[in-house]
């Protein structure tokens, strides 16, 4: 039982760490967010939701820690959260590399174009 509790606590900390990393990575690529807005509103909304989800996830896990509620982070929940963060990072990376450089959406000589400056 102690072994499982320790494992669950470790999973909780790892989950918080990974979620913070995903949030920092998303915010660090806010230029890609601007690019996404120019390119496609769907990917822009997806990017925004990723940032929002990660922020609320950190609050939620923080509440577990602060209130010393028995850790209920089971293995399947942990794997699911890690999978969710991984998918988010892949999508952010995709937007960052692909659409920031493609020249089709926003980047001309490294400058991020505003919506008004976009070629029609």
């Amino acid at each position: 039982m102690n072994y499982l509790t320790t494992l669950s606590s470790v999973a909780l900390y790892v989950d918080i760490f990974l979620t913070i990393c995903t949030l920092v990575y998303a915010l660090g690529n806010s230029s890609a967010l601007k690019c996404a807005r120019n390119m496609d509103m769907q990917i822009y909304h997806a990017f925004n939701i990723i940032i929002f989800t990660c922020a609320v996830h950190i609050l939620s896990l923080g509440e577990l820690l602060l209130l010393s509620i028995p850790r209920q982070l089971s293995l399947w929940q942990f794997i699911s959260n890690v999978g969710q963060n991984t998918v988010y990072v892949f999508i952010i990376n995709c937007v960052r590399h692909d659409w920031l450089r493609c020249g089709q959406c926003c980047s001309l000589h490294g400058k991020i174009l505003t919506k008004k400056e976009m070629p029609r």
Binding site: Q42, A46, T53, F90, C94, D98
Partner: protein, 207 residues
């Protein structure tokens, strides 16, 4: 706080909605014949297959949860915010992110190949159909619960029934749209119905 039985129903319907939406996305991937161009965009290739793997992996994870026992999750009722986050926000927002991503790759991504002509892929958004499907979901689950209390059914049976209905309904939608109207669209009345069911479960719990 709602009772343990109502929470159980909410968790069960949440699982069913989540899995059914993942299944609908996988069906759409097969129906559209989506293939990312690896050479043109390795990042898109990785992101796309990660999303597909994520959808498929949800079945394994929820399966493990069901086989082990759903009951332990109800301990979360001691912490309302944590419960709502784990079973409401986080899974649904992930699904919405995936849905937006797939809509992007189907409709406008130049590095994605499709089996159907892109010109036939339309945002076939008929708000009347979607709102009817949504209302049918809300009312259907409330009426069904008043006739036959849903919490008397085993969770596995409830999830399996909704999953089966979603598969049949999504398949009918795909076949109808493709062969009758020669069009494909990611906007689905089935998913709208599922969200109606989900909201209906919250109404039952609130009443």
């Amino acid at each position: 706080m709602t009772s343990a039985t109502e929470l159980m129903l909410l968790v069960t319907l949440q699982i069913a909605v989540h899995l059914s939406t993942c299944l609908a996305l996988l069906l759409y991937v097969i129906a559209f014949g989506l293939r990312p161009d690896r050479q043109a965009s390795p990042q898109l290739f990785d992101a796309f297959w990660a999303c597909v793997l994520y959808c498929a992996g949800q079945f394994v994870l929820w399966g493990i949860n069901f086989v082990s026992d759903v009951q332990p999750t109800l301990e979360l009722q001691r912490n309302g915010f944590e419960f709502i986050f784990r079973f409401v926000w986080s899974p649904q927002l992930s699904i919405i992110v995936l849905w937006f991503f797939f809509a992007h790759v189907v409709q406008s991504c130049p590095h994605m190949r499709l089996n159907v002509p892109r010109s036939s892929v339309v945002a076939n958004f008929r708000s009347k159909t979607l709102s009817r499907a949504f209302t049918a979901g809300v009312l259907g689950v409330i009426i069904a619960n008043s006739i036959l209390p849903l919490d008397s059914f085993p969770p596995r049976q409830l999830v399996a029934t909704i999953l089966a209905f979603s598969v049949v309904s999504t398949a009918v939608e795909l076949i109808l749209k493709r062969y009758k109207y020669r069009q494909m669209s990611l906007v689905s009345p089935t998913v709208s119905w599922l969200y109606g069911v989900w909201l209906g479960a919250w109404v039952i719990a609130a009443l």
